[in-house]
Amino acid sequence: MGLNVATTVESGLVADAGGPHAHRHRALEDQALEGGGISAEMAGACVWSDEMVAASGISVRNVPFVTVGGGVASYAMVDALRISGVPASMIAVVGPFPSGYGTLKLLLEASQIDRDQRLRSGSSDRMGSIWGWPGYGLKEAFARRSPATLARLVAEPVLCDYFTPKASALYEDMDAEARRISWQSMFTCGRVPLVRRRDGGGYFIVIVPAEDESLANVQVIQARYVHLGIGFVAAHVLDDMMEYRSSTGDSRRVVNVYEPHEHIYEELARNPGKTVLVRGSASSSLQVIERLVRDRDAHDTGVEIYHLFRNYVEGPKGPPMFRTPGKDGFSYQAFTFTKACYGGQLQRKFRSLGSDDERAELLAAVGSTAVPKRKLWRKQSARGKREGWYKVVVGSASGLELQDNGRVRATVSQEGKPATSLEVDYVIDATGVEVNLRDHEVIADLLDCCGAETNAVGQLAVNDAFEVSGTRNGNGKIFASGVSTLGNPYVIPMYSFWGLQYAALLTCKDLSRDGFCQPLGIRRSVRGWWHRIRNSAP
């Protein structure tokens, strides 16, 4: 149902740590461009008139609906709109990658989920079909003629682990649906530094085409609706790691799991007997350990693994009706959020809570770091402990130093105990991801200039239709979905395909009231599904 943070990152611009995009806005303001471009005066004005834009000489297209990001959140939105009867000519998608899973794939591969690895999502979480049926499991069972897969779908999660699809199944599914809904015809490769209110309603969206970063050829779309499908902008590198990097200039030995770090596995294969410190107990840590163990067996790397837990979970905890399963250091949960957040009773409960703060509190309880209970992972760590190459360390790393012998010394401190230190060759941080809203230039600009507001968990405040609070302009609306809307009123798990599709449906419902699309009732839903099955245009 839900996904690992590692597996559901909406598209945004992947960059090095620190969010360099924040500075681009200023660059744009400073740079009045010859031959047509945005003047400093325009960049500084929060409302643009048609005359202003016309005078600038920039080419303006008129497309009623524009989605910014171009990743899975945009994809879910566009798919729902197309199924609701909006023609492709009325939608524009702006993003860095031509496929809806471009950014997602980068992050997945960095965190060791390549095409043949399985995601942390359920059979019916199909990005390529809003109905989710037939699911990935049924498809795989028929393709491989595997009664065992079929039996697994019946028995999950009681008698066996959940069925989880391979990353390749997701990509193929998304490609097929993209062709069907004419995704390419709506797509513009580029980035969006600014969205401005239009005098008289709607918005202007500024696009910097990917092939020309000089800002000399910016384009502008005039739209009634804007959707922001912006996810993780950058891998969040912890402070002590940043400190290490800046003091030593070394970012080869100390990496975040979402940064490309294939070089570590290559070096381990070349020089056997090295030591790796894996920080954090999120599921990406187990994905990394799975890779290390696979290489250990295949290439005889003899790697030693230290696994650092900040909180070591001894066993199940909590009262009978709110009892988190746990063992061997981990809290167990099949998906990123407890399952009932995906439309079930917990979502109802969230809806009934009065304040943002109460919701934030419950969100922290049901969305805390947990890993799926997979047999393979449990077997690997049991074997590693037995054979002595997998060691658990409890505490938090409080400092990293580069030694003269080329190794990294990590100081581990634990409350009430004297600090200890470890000497390792590599440090891979898998403590989870954090989203800093202002890392993305267009959102930072929206907060400063368009009146967007933040919620109790520091993300974009949205209403029940996922419209960004404070940004309405005449008949124009700005919507958002994805991780930047975590803490939304439905507390929809925004790290999940399911959540993105649900948010898209709620937005469509609102747009159908505006008369922009058709409501998705029983008839349209069944007909739409039939078109999808027959692979005919919606």
Binding site: P157, M321, Y342, W529
Partner: protein, 174 residues
């Protein structure tokens, strides 16, 4: 499945009223019909008066009586099911994920079937012995089991196509 309580109840009633009704209408003539007299209910005398007011026996046509029994069983399954759903919802509270795996729904056929067998006797939908040797048991068992499995199959699949709201809002239809 991630049901809310309302969603559970609505789903059961919807499935019984659609898949249940259609399947019962199709399957009933093919079920092993119990001998006369074991079917209870009111007005079930397979006799007619001749025009001379002399009772005569007509050739026994069991089908209307079978329909009565299967539809009443289906109705009771839905109705008693509301109480079952309350129990399931309570049990769901002890699960961390607050979900209800499809396998649970499938195997619930066994306890629900046993209770329903007693309920249809208590309500005189079925007369005769409660023992499993009852001549009405094969009909009851085949009807209930096939209906149940079909309702389950519809729930884990096509239901999502019929109602997107159902998929995204805890099994709720309205």
């Amino acid at each position: 499945m991630t049901f809310s309580l309302r969603g559970r109840i609505q789903t059961r009633l919807f499935l019984a009223a659609t898949v249940g009704v259609i399947w019962t209408a199709i399957i009933t003539p093919f079920l092993p019909s119990p001998p006369m007299g074991s079917i209870g209910g009111v007005g079930m005398v397979p006799m007619q008066m001749s025009k001379f007011m002399v009772p005569i026996a007509v050739p026994y046509n069991p089908i209307p009586f079978d329909y009565r029994m299967t539809f009443e069983t289906l109705g009771l399954m839905a109705l008693v099911g509301i109480a079952w759903e309350l129990l399931y919802h309570l049990l769901q509270q002890f699960r961390w994920d607050k979900d209800w795996p499809p396998l649970f729904t499938l195997v619930a056929l066994v306890p629900e079937g046993i209770v329903l067998w007693y309920v249809i006797h208590l309500t005189h939908v079925e007369n005769g012995t409660w023992a499993l040797t009852s001549s009405g048991f094969p009909m009851f068992a085949i009807h209930l089991a096939t209906t149940w499995v079909l309702m389950w199959l519809f729930m884990v699949g096509p239901m999502k196509v019929v109602s997107l709201k159902w998929r995204f809002e805890g099994g709720e239809l309205v």
